[in-house]
């Protein structure tokens, strides 16, 4: 049953991408030693800095060569390695049920989230799951294979339904995720960009490394309909009668304006923004995401 529920995990893809590390773009405050930089000095092999000796310091860390040259006592500090808390924030609003033939945006998000969770767990990081819906799901980030299984099972159980509470949920997540974490959001972000910006700022204020997967279907961008239709709101709002031939131009203008504002929001808040179209493979999206993080990784 477990294997069936975790259908979204494709071993072949996971095998190909396992070599790519999942880095945080900033120092993490982990509970155990790990692969990620910590803001505190530790005992890793990577030199960090010198500082003057003060009484009480461990004399084993004195740099005798420096004392020999300068006749002064300096403590040699090294970077600390710690683990990472990966918080997967899933938008489970009804609009996530939209997608190309046979698949949905939520399926796509589930594959991305499952793979990232798997990669994080593989490198010893803690993984947690948050769903942003009317009935929120909150699985705090923890380490261990058993916890990953619980996260993946929950991920499999989630269903997109109802109206969006994305902004509110992001604010709540910012408050509830107490320690620094890599917060990865999977959503269509169909909310006003200025509200989204506020939520991003909140998360960043809490020192989280925020990444956002903006999942879009090409049809939502093109609005390529040839006949008038009655458009039913997948989030339960009022339906709209529209003739695409009459409003397509304005629709695209609205999309363009939205994109400009959203781009501004993510740029000013420092969110690692990944715009993904559902017709591209999620593997490619993951590779792009992970490689970008390697390039932006501050190093040891």
């Amino acid at each position: 049953m477990a294997e069936n529920k975790r259908y979204f995990l494709e071993p072949a893809v996971l095998g190909r991408l396992l070599a790519l590390p999942l880095h945080a773009r900033q120092a993490m405050l982990g509970s155990v030693s790990g692969k990620h930089r910590s803001p505190v000095r530790g005992s890793s092999l990577e030199f960090a800095q010198y500082r003057k000796y003060v009484p009480g310091d461990d004399t084993r860390r004195l740099d005798w060569r420096t004392w020999g040259r300068s006749d002064r006592f300096y403590i040699k500090q090294f970077e600390a390695d710690t683990n990472l808390r990966l918080c997967l924030l899933m938008d489970t609003s009804g609009s996530m049920d939209f997608g190309p033939d046979g698949t949905t945006r939520f399926d796509y998000a589930r594959k991305l989230a499952g793979a990232l969770g798997y990669f994080a767990a593989e490198q010893g990081d803690a993984v947690g799951l948050w769903s942003m819906a009317d009935k929120p799901v909150e699985i705090p980030a923890k380490r261990g294979p058993g916890h990953l299984g619980a996260v993946l099972d929950k991920l499999a159980d989630l269903k997109p339904l109802g109206g969006t509470t994305l902004v509110k949920a992001l604010h709540e997540a910012a408050e509830r995720i107490r320690q620094r974490a890599l917060v990865v959001i999977f959503s269509d972000f169909f909310v006003p960009p200025e509200e989204l910006k506020s939520a991003f700022q909140h998360l960043r204020f809490r020192k989280h490394d925020v990444a956002a997967f903006h999942l879009l279907d090409q049809r939502e961008l093109d609005f390529d309909f040839d006949r008038p239709a009655r458009f039913l709101d997948m989030e339960g709002g009022d339906a709209i009668q529209a003739d695409p031939s009459l409003i397509a131009r304005n629709y695209r203008e609205a999309v363009r304006k939205y994109m400009v504002e959203l781009d501004d929001a993510v740029r000013t808040t420092g969110v690692d923004y990944q715009r993904v179209k559902l017709h591209e493979s999620y593997e490619a999206a993951l590779v792009r995401f992970l490689l970008a993080r390697i390039q932006n990784h501050p190093g040891r």
Binding site: F98, R105, D188, A239, I240, D243, L246, I247, A248, N250
Partner: protein, 685 residues
């Protein structure tokens, strides 16, 4: 607007089909589950006003297109400019001007103004009333209403054929008014077909105000005036006057004055043309080439030798055929001239004496003159049939007086009357005129005539162009004249002293002269010239209808009450029914009587009434003027389905343009980069 197939208009509600289909479509259109409602709402908000307007426009154009199709099938007729909207009237009265000038033809087609107008009218009436209206024809020659079973009969009945008569349009309208009033015709359309010739319309006649008042009292009467005023430029006309047989010791000849006129554009002096003129006398034809320089040529005293034994006969002068065939021929008759007999009715010898002397004097030594003076009490003894001129210096007879009837008949027969004022004028009127008051001039300064008409009439200039010395007359007293007539002379202060009563131009003249010849009243007798010319001209005019051979004008009464007594003198002439005989030019005989009938002089005067005149004549009435042209073969009512077809095409085209999807971006194939213009989100990225 009317339709040839009006029942198709019942399908007009089908024009609402696009709206109905739109509504059905609205509720049955496919449903799409959509996630990006945020963009859809924003787009709708942006295009709210424009989109709705466009949608309304599209629906309107679709409705118009369907309506236009239905209209096309209904075969609409354009006749709104004739006021043909509102359905068929109860009665259609056609007032037809059958005057000679209406026979002006289009040389290319041979269709006259009368015929072109009748065809147009018949079709228009048939199209617009579809046989639902009573059609009544009143023609200007007979003035009698004739009910027609259908509009097409206008082209067939004898009452619509051409004549050589003049038209009396006020009389025609009076006949229409009488018919409408008598027969309670309901909603009536009065169609007047005329060439607007001024002499026929008599725009200055006092009958017009009465007509306007009469029609204004009627409800539902509309006038449609179909007119063909275009002149025939270059048209030649001929008129003959003073035909006399003269005899010498060994020969005889006919003398006549031949006037050839040519219609020219105003202000234009055309080149001279040589016109072959044919003279036919008792079947013998001679020809003469006459050069017409400018607008007129006159052969004064033209002589045609005839056999000495020929004492009476008839003939004609002919011009080559042109646009107006009616004025290309003029008939004349000749005979031993009758005695120029005049009767003076007066109890005052001081007045009668000079008059008698002037009328007895032989202006033409070859003719006999006889003037008789009768007292008022013996006025009944006037030998009416032989009298050319009556000079009446006595109180006017009252309308119920038999003498009044005799005087009226005298004038109707083409003779002349000159009324001179009695010492005590009363308010009795005759021929629309009556005496006013005596005006006495100061003894030291006699009054003088300030204005007189010198182009025509009794005071016209002499043949050599010299004016009569009317202005030098010394007038001690004069009697004013009031009423509806044509002024011929006026004193200071516009007081008329010589007027001609208005009336049928084919009748004789009835003149009112406010001057007396006695020395105490004026110098008429002393100076003599004016009085002599005036009386001799009136005598000559009245003598036109005297004798066994007479000149006359074509009119319904030209041959008396029984035209069947007359027949054409020319055995080769076209046969014609007796009732139409007096309406056509030609020479007719009855026993030893012979009459040459010709078109009235007014028919040769090309002047027409203007639009301003028409507006004044029909002021306050519902009337429309439609100006036709002989070259214009279009019908009064045209099928205008093409217009609606164009409207439909325009509506469909407009609808298509509005439905045209906006220029769209070329979206890349999924997974492939776009080589076309980047989509906006791509640009942002």
């Amino acid at each position: 607007m009317t339709f040839l197939q009006p029942w198709v208009l019942f399908a007009l509600p089908l024009a609402a089909l696009p709206v109905i289909i739109h509504l059905i479509h609205l509720y049955r259109r496919r449903q799409v589950k959509w996630a990006a409602m945020i963009f859809l709402r924003a787009a709708q908000q942006m295009s709210k006003g424009l989109s709705r307007l466009r949608q309304i426009l599209i629906l309107t154009l679709r409705v118009l297109a369907v309506a236009a199709i239905i209209m096309v099938v209904g075969r609409p007729l354009a006749g709104g400019w004739l006021g043909l909207t509102g359905g068929a009237p109860d009665t259609v009265l056609v007032l037809l001007d059958r005057s000679a000038s209406m026979e002006q033809k289009d040389i290319a087609t041979g269709v006259s103004k009368r015929m072109a107008g009748l065809r147009n009218l018949a079709k228009a009436i048939d199209d617009t009333t579809a046989g639902h209206s009573h059609v009544v024809l009143i023609d200007s020659a007979l003035d009698k209403p004739l009910a027609l079973d259908k509009a097409d009969s206008l082209l067939d009945v004898p009452q619509s054929e051409g004549t050589d008569t003049a038209a009396d349009i006020p009389a025609l309208l009076q006949a229409a008014l009488d018919y409408i009033t008598t027969n309670k015709t309901g909603r009536t359309d009065v169609w007047i077909l005329s060439d607007l010739q001024a002499s026929d319309w008599a725009a200055t006649s006092g009958r017009w105000p009465a007509l306007r008042s009469g029609f204004a009292l009627l409800h539902g009467v509309r006038f449609h005036l179909l007119c063909y005023p275009e002149p025939a430029i270059g048209d030649l006309g001929v008129r003959v006057e003073n035909v006399q047989r003269r005899e010498s010791a060994d020969s005889a000849e006919l003398t006549m004055d031949v006037h050839i006129t040519r219609r020219v554009k105003e202000g234009e002096t055309p080149a001279a043309v040589d016109v072959p003129v044919q003279f036919v006398v008792n079947g013998t034809t001679t020809s003469e080439k006459v050069t017409v320089n400018g607008g007129e040529a006159v052969l004064q005293g033209y002589t045609i030798p005839i056999d000495k034994s020929t004492r009476r006969g008839w003939g004609r002068v002919e011009l080559p055929a042109d646009a107006c065939p009616e004025n290309n021929v003029f008939y004349f008759v000749f005979d031993d001239p009758p005695v120029l007999r005049s009767v003076i009715v007066s109890d005052d010898q001081a007045e009668a004496g000079p008059l008698n002397a002037a009328l007895s004097a032989a202006a033409d030594p070859e003719r006999k003159y006889l003037s008789t003076t009768l007292g008022v009490a013996h006025a009944a003894e006037i030998p009416w049939p032989e009298t050319a001129l009556v000079v009446w210096q006595a109180p006017l007879p009252k309308p119920d007086d038999p003498l009044a009837r005799n005087l009226a008949d005298h004038v109707a027969a083409g003779r002349d009357i000159i009324f001179l004022p009695p010492e005590s004028p009363d308010n009795v009127s005759m021929f629309g005129l009556e005496w006013g008051d005596w005006v006495t001039a100061p003894e030291t300064k006699p009054a003088q005539v300030q204005w007189w008409r010198n182009d025509t009439g009794l005071l016209a200039n002499t043949r050599d162009g010299a004016a009569l010395p009317v202005g030098t007359l010394e007038i001690s007293r004069y009697c004013t004249i009031s009423g509806d007539g044509t002024p011929l002379a006026r004193m200071e202060g516009n007081a008329n002293v010589l007027m001609k009563a208005n009336g049928d131009e084919t009748a004789g003249g009835a003149y009112f002269m406010g001057l007396l010849p006695d020395p105490g009243s004026s110098s008429l007798a002393r100076d003599g010239v004016v009085m002599f010319a005036l009386l001799q001209r009136a005598l000559e005019e009245g003598a036109q209808t005297l004798g066994k051979a007479r000149q006359g004008f074509a009119s319904a009464n030209a041959l008396g009450t029984d035209p069947s007594l007359w027949h054409r003198a020319d055995p080769g002439a076209e046969a014609i029914i007796p009732t139409e005989l007096p309406l056509h030019a030609g020479v007719v005989t009855s026993g030893d009587q012979m009459i040459a009938l010709n078109r009235p002089p007014g028919e040769d005067v090309p002047r027409t009434v203007s639009t301003g005149d028409l507006n004044e004549l029909f002021g306050g009435l519902d009337f429309r003027v439609v100006t036709g042209s002989l070259e214009d073969t279009r019908s009064l009512t045209n099928e205008v389905w093409r217009t609606f077809l164009i409207c439909m095409a325009a509506a469909i085209l407009g609808e298509a343009l509005l439905c045209l999807p906006p220029r769209r971006f070329i979206t890349p194939v999924r997974g492939e980069p776009s080589h076309a213009a980047p989509a906006p989100w791509e640009a942002v990225k």
